[in-house]
Amino acid sequence: MTARKQIRLGAHFPGVNNTTVWSDPAAGSQIAFDSFAHFARTAERGFFDFLFLAEGLRLREHRGRIHDLDVVGRPDTFTVLAALAGVTGHLGLAGTINTTFNEPYELARQFATLDHLSAGRAAWNMVTSSDAFTGENFRRGGFLAREDRYTRAREGVDVCRRCGTAGPTTPSSPTAAPGCSCATAASPTCTTRRASSTCTAGSRCRAARRATRC
């Protein structure tokens, strides 16, 4: 007999559109960390797989002015997820991050950091944008043509995956012998050019690891 299919559950933190009811007396802060901590703890109590954070990088406008009828204001995704790693123990932490307005190397490092700090609970909801309005908040400016969005998205994911599996390794134990090398083994070199990525774990890497056993 096959096992019953298990339901996967994500908990979407209430967002900044009209789905979120703020006029209810029970509605609390959309930005205080206590709100995020409460929501995350509830999701973990309910055995959810992950908490999910949306993101928008420019305040919405309606008829040329900031839309004022819905909840406005949210935190930085990586920062609040890193903090939530400290108040939960099992819950996945999924952040929406835009590949158009973030640099691949930086994303790779931030996700790798979050994965370390949460002991393996990081998730990335990858979105792209062709929105010049949002682009005005960034020095990259402008935006990408629709066909380029996914090219850049692929590069972003690629860099994240290659870097994520290719960092330096930590030593298995401190070693007191002076001159014995390899506090942490050398990480391989990653190269990415437009729409093509290569990641080579070079001979230097293996040489350094041999040296660990000196």
């Binding site: 299919k5 979407h12 009209n18 979050l114 370390h116 330096p168």
Partner: protein
């Protein structure tokens, strides 16, 4: 770009990758690359079609169907009884679409300043201004012809016996929502999953921060009783808890493990 990475391999190697986007291009990207797809396909039948489509795409990319999870976004309203929940759902919808919000929705379609209209009155007789497409900025816009949408809304208002602007917006912008007692909602969520309309849900409560409390207290035990939800976390990483395969280690690490 070029250089060495400064963070050691993390527990999952790389994060679980979720892809949001229902376009054909987005589906294909997800099928080739993602661990989960966040979709808006709500109904049971549309869900089954979508599920079959993206799982098929994953297989064509050389992956197993279970390597890609299909997770639609879903809202819910709970009550002590199904009738109680239905009453609450009406209240929630009215709170989500207040008079000003109803007018703002209308202005998005009509492309005009409609602030002079009464949300409890009928839809405007005037037609949409099709040239004013940038009335709303900073959110996803749907690319449909506003005249078509306006006509659909008028038809909807008429068919339901003359809905007001606010009532029309409430009806027209409703998405799939699971409404009922905890037992009813648990059964319905489970029906979607066991019937391959999806692998689970990304639930979107309407209240911060307590919107998940009742679900955790009442629906979760029902799902557990049905044998469809864990009673403890068994994996050490998110990837393991989701039943996904571990990420490959680079070749050098394999070398190291075998030679050490």
């Amino acid at each position: 770009m070029h250089g060495r990475f400064s963070v050691p391999r993390s527990p999952q190697g790389h994060p679980v990758l979720i892809q949001a986007g229902d376009s054909a291009e987005g589906r294909d990207f997800a099928a080739a690359t993602a661990d989960a797809i966040f979709t808006l396909h709500g109904s049971y039948d549309a869900g089954r079609d979508f599920y079959a489509d993206v799982k098929g795409r994953a297989v064509r990319h050389g992956r197993r169907p279970e390597d890609l999870l299909v997770l639609p976004g879903a809202t819910f309203v709970l009550g002590d009884t199904d009738a109680d929940a239905a009453d609450r759902a009406v209240e929630v919808r009215r709170a989500q679409v207040g008079p000003q919000t109803a007018i703002a929705f209308l202005e998005q379609i009509w492309g005009r300043d409609l602030s002079g209209y009464d949300a409890d009155g009928p839809l405007p007789a005037i037609d949409p201004d099709v040239d004013n497409v940038s009335i709303t900025r900073g959110r996803v816009r749907h690319a449909r012809d506003p005249r078509t949408v306006a006509q659909e809304w008028r038809d909807l208002a008429a068919a339901k016996g003359g809905l007001s602007i606010r009532e029309t917006v409430i009806e027209a912008t409703s998405r799939t929502s699971f409404i009922g007692s905890a037992r009813t909602v648990a059964a319905e969520l489970d029906r979607y999953v066991q019937g391959d309309a999806c692998d689970g849900f990304i639930l979107i409560p309407h209240l911060t921060p307590g919107g998940l409390d009742a679900f955790a207290d009442t629906v979760v035990p029902e799902l557990q009783d049905r044998g469809s939800l864990r009673t403890e976390y068994t994996g050490t990483t998110l990837r393991e808890n989701l039943g996904l395969r571990p990420t490959a280690r680079p070749a050098t690490d394999t070398t190291r493990r075998t030679s050490a």
